[in-house]
């Protein structure tokens, strides 16, 4: 599979157990991320299991780390040891079953994956966003023709007598 490769927001860095997750947990997270948001040649975007995106994800877990670790360990147990050791089709089926039975428990993974994926330069450009902070440039929003309010004005006061 090919897609346009541009400079990611953050260069991939080696992931070590000291980066908040164990290697097994990173492995499980990468596997789930790839199933959640796979690469798309049509849209020209990497998957969420892209090395740069995973590295960014692992480095920025912050307040979700403990809950994420709990869920990743649970999924590995559900897989009989390591999710990543299963064939891709088995991984997909297992995750689908888990989502059906307990979607809420996967919410933390959806949040963690989305937060890293949707700030990657390649992804932002593909959805039409400039890869920049909102401040200081801001964004344009137009004022409308306020004569659209004429019917509201014509109806008159709706203040309740008190």
């Amino acid at each position: 599979m090919t897609f346009s490769i541009e400079t990611p927001m953050t260069e991939p860095q080696p992931i070590s157990p000291s980066d908040q997750l164990t290697l097994a947990e990173v492995d499980c997270l990468r596997c789930i991320a790839g199933h959640m948001i796979p690469a798309s040649a049509r849209h020209g975007v990497p998957g969420a299991d892209d090395p740069g995106i995973i590295a960014d994800m692992v480095r920025s877990l912050d307040r979700d780390r403990a809950e994420l670790q709990r869920v990743l360990r649970m999924i590995d147990e559900f897989a009989g040891g390591r999710l990543s050791a299963l064939a891709p089709a088995e991984q997909r089926d297992l995750l689908a079953r888990h989502r059906k039975d307990g979607a809420a428990t996967l919410a933390v993974i959806e949040a963690v994956v989305s937060r890293a994926y949707y700030r990657d330069d390649r992804v932002l450009k593909s959805i039409g966003m400039e890869p920049r902070p909102p401040f200081p440039a801001g964004y344009p929003v137009e004022q409308i023709d306020l004569t659209l309010l004429d019917p509201v004005r014509q109806r008159g006061s709706i203040v309740r007598e008190a």
């Binding site: 927001m9 912050d62 937060r115 902070p133 401040f135 964004y139 409308i144 659209l148 509201v152």
Partner: protein, 532 residues
């Protein structure tokens, strides 16, 4: 022990800042103790690429998730609505959206008009000049002539309504229902040293532009110039009293964790509807065994939130998306009681734009609109920049069982008992929520939406903390009198949302600040016999 002051204000948020500014006229020595620090707008989320992540990290609305040194934990396990606040100079105004409706005249007469709760001991006309003064101090953008309100002046033009406002306005016109550009505490032009809004879309997590009126950049700048002292990093634990049943000052923990006593002639509570009853209850003593100013037993009771319902839909054409202020348009169509609806009182709608990409993805997956796998990208692109809707802000009637107490186990970093919330959505409120979801869906369908999702009540929306030290003329049923002085302690005043008798169906900051200015005005007018 510190040097005594004339006035000690506890809390530097919306109301503390307003009362400090107003009382500065008197040239009394005024000190405000604030448990948090000064916000740094250069570090607000919108200044970085990780802006959406930080909205749920160090600028999360939940103090329990944020858990910064300035925050105290809140046990809200026994409430379907979770607490949102911000602790620091500016308080909740640092993170609020700046939606700035006033309460309506009928809100002060609910017993007389609708037979529910109690009438307020003051009315809209009493607060009107303070609403107007507050609009000028905060810098409110609005359009004069809203038929849902008595006449009021506009300080500056309204914020742009954008493609979302146009779409919704047309739908509302087709339905024949009221809508109007929102009063917004966000500058639409240069105003008093503040730059105009540039549509960052970050009103709810600190405005780096300084367009949104948080009190750290409005009232506090003026108050400090007028020699009010603001001491940050100081967490008050309890109010001290003497044999005359007067407050003598407050104990607080400083930045080093040392407990210090601050003597004062007048104590003003401005800690919001949870922080204020927490301190009052924690100030129980032999003189006041049930908590300070609590002979009525009403301290902590009658907690009101404004339960929110959300209705959001997808549109074929692209809209404003993440661009633009979060507040731009309201409807008061269902604000007043209509017996045919099966409940008393009402709600307003606050229309909403779309999300940034992260929130589009997270909420889209949670709502079942974005799948995992190959279909993710197409589904995401259908939603992103194509969603809009509204939230309803429902009037919550006071009920004694909805309350703030002290948690017997949970404590903050200084060992002070944490507040515990006990709350359930009342039957009247639930009917109102249901009505707002049904009408909101109707509006979105009229506007051409599909994939409509609803949530009711919104869980993480406990912004408006009201009613826990209610105002009234009868000391047996209320905590403060009609000008904010505690019935039981004649030099103790409360100026925050605790004093609300009822909640109204609108965001309360405008009213909280108007009340703070009104109470300050009463103090100034009565200085010669304030403690009689």
């Amino acid at each position: 022990m510190n040097e005594p002051v004339d006035v000690l204000i506890i809390g530097g948020g919306a109301s503390g800042a307003a009362v400090a500014w107003s009382l500065a006229d008197t040239r009394m020595r005024i000190l405000c103790l604030e448990q948090g620090g000064w916000p740094n707008s250069a570090q607000y989320p919108s200044t970085g690429r990780d802006w959406e992540s930080r909205q749920v990290e160090d600028y999360a609305i939940s103090p329990n998730r944020r858990a910064s040194a300035a925050d105290y934990p809140i046990n809200d396990n026994n409430s379907p609505i979770k607490i949102a606040n911000f602790n620091g100079v500016g308080g909740g105004t640092v993170l609020y959206a700046g939606h700035f409706p006033r309460m309506h005249p009928s809100d002060f007469r609910v017993r007389t008009l609708d037979g529910v709760a109690d009438d307020w001991p003051i009315d809209y006309a009493t607060l009107e000049p303070f609403y107007a003064a507050n609009d000028r101090m905060m810098g409110v953008a609005s359009l004069a002539g809203d038929p849902a309100y008595p006449a009021k002046d506009s300080v500056m033009p309204p914020l742009p309504l954008g493609s979302t406002g146009e779409l919704m306005g047309k739908a509302m016109n087709e339905l024949g229902w009221h809508w109007w550009p929102s009063d917004s505490a966000i500058t639409s032009r240069d105003y008093e040293g503040r730059a105009p809004c540039i549509n960052l879309g970050h009103c709810g997590h600190g405005c780096a532009q300084g367009a949104k009126a948080s009190t750290d950049i409005t009232y506090w700048q003026e108050a400090l110039r007028n020699r009010v002292e603001l001491r940050t990093g100081c967490r008050v634990s309890r109010i001290e009293t003497n044999d005359d049943r007067m407050a003598t000052g407050a104990w607080y923990f400083d930045r080093d964790g040392q407990e210090v006593f601050q003597p004062a002639e007048i104590v003003v509570m401005a800690c919001n509807g949870i922080g204020t009853p927490r301190i009052l209850l924690n100030s129980a003593s032999e003189r006041f065994p049930d908590g300070l100013a609590n002979s009525s037993g009403q301290v902590g009771c009658n907690l009101m939130f404004h339960p929110y319902a959300l209705v959001r839909g997808r549109f074929d054409k692209p809209l404003d998306g993440y661009r633009g202020s979060r507040v731009f348009m309201w409807s008061m169509e269902f604000y007043e009681t209509d017996p045919a609806r099966g409940y008393k009182r009402g709600y307003c709608y606050q229309f909403t734009r779309g999300f940034g990409p992260v929130m589009t993805s997270v909420s889209g997956m949670a709502d079942g609109l974005i799948p995992w796998g190959e279909g993710h990208h197409d589904a995401f692109r259908k939603l992103f920049d194509h969603q809009a809707g509204m939230v309803s802000i429902c009037e919550d009637l006071p009920e004694e069982i909805n309350r703030v107490t002290l948690d017997p186990v949970l404590k903050d970093g200084n060992g002070i008992a944490a507040p515990k919330i006990t709350y359930r959505v009342g039957e009247n409120t639930q009917k109102m929520l249901d009505h707002s979801v049904a009408r909101g869906t109707e509006i979105l369908l009229k506007a051409g939406a599909s994939d409509i999702v609803t949530r009711s009540p919104l869980s993480y929306a406990g912004w408006h903390l009201l009613g826990t030290a209610k105002m009234g003329k009868d000391p047996k049923t209320s905590v403060v009198n009609e000008w904010g002085r505690a019935h039981d302690v004649k030099n103790l005043f409360i100026v925050d949302g605790s004093v609300f008798v009822t909640s109204g169906g609108v965001n309360p900051t405008s009213t909280i600040q108007a009340i703070a200015l009104y109470v300050a005005d009463q103090i100034k007018a009565r200085l010669h016999d304030l403690f009689d």
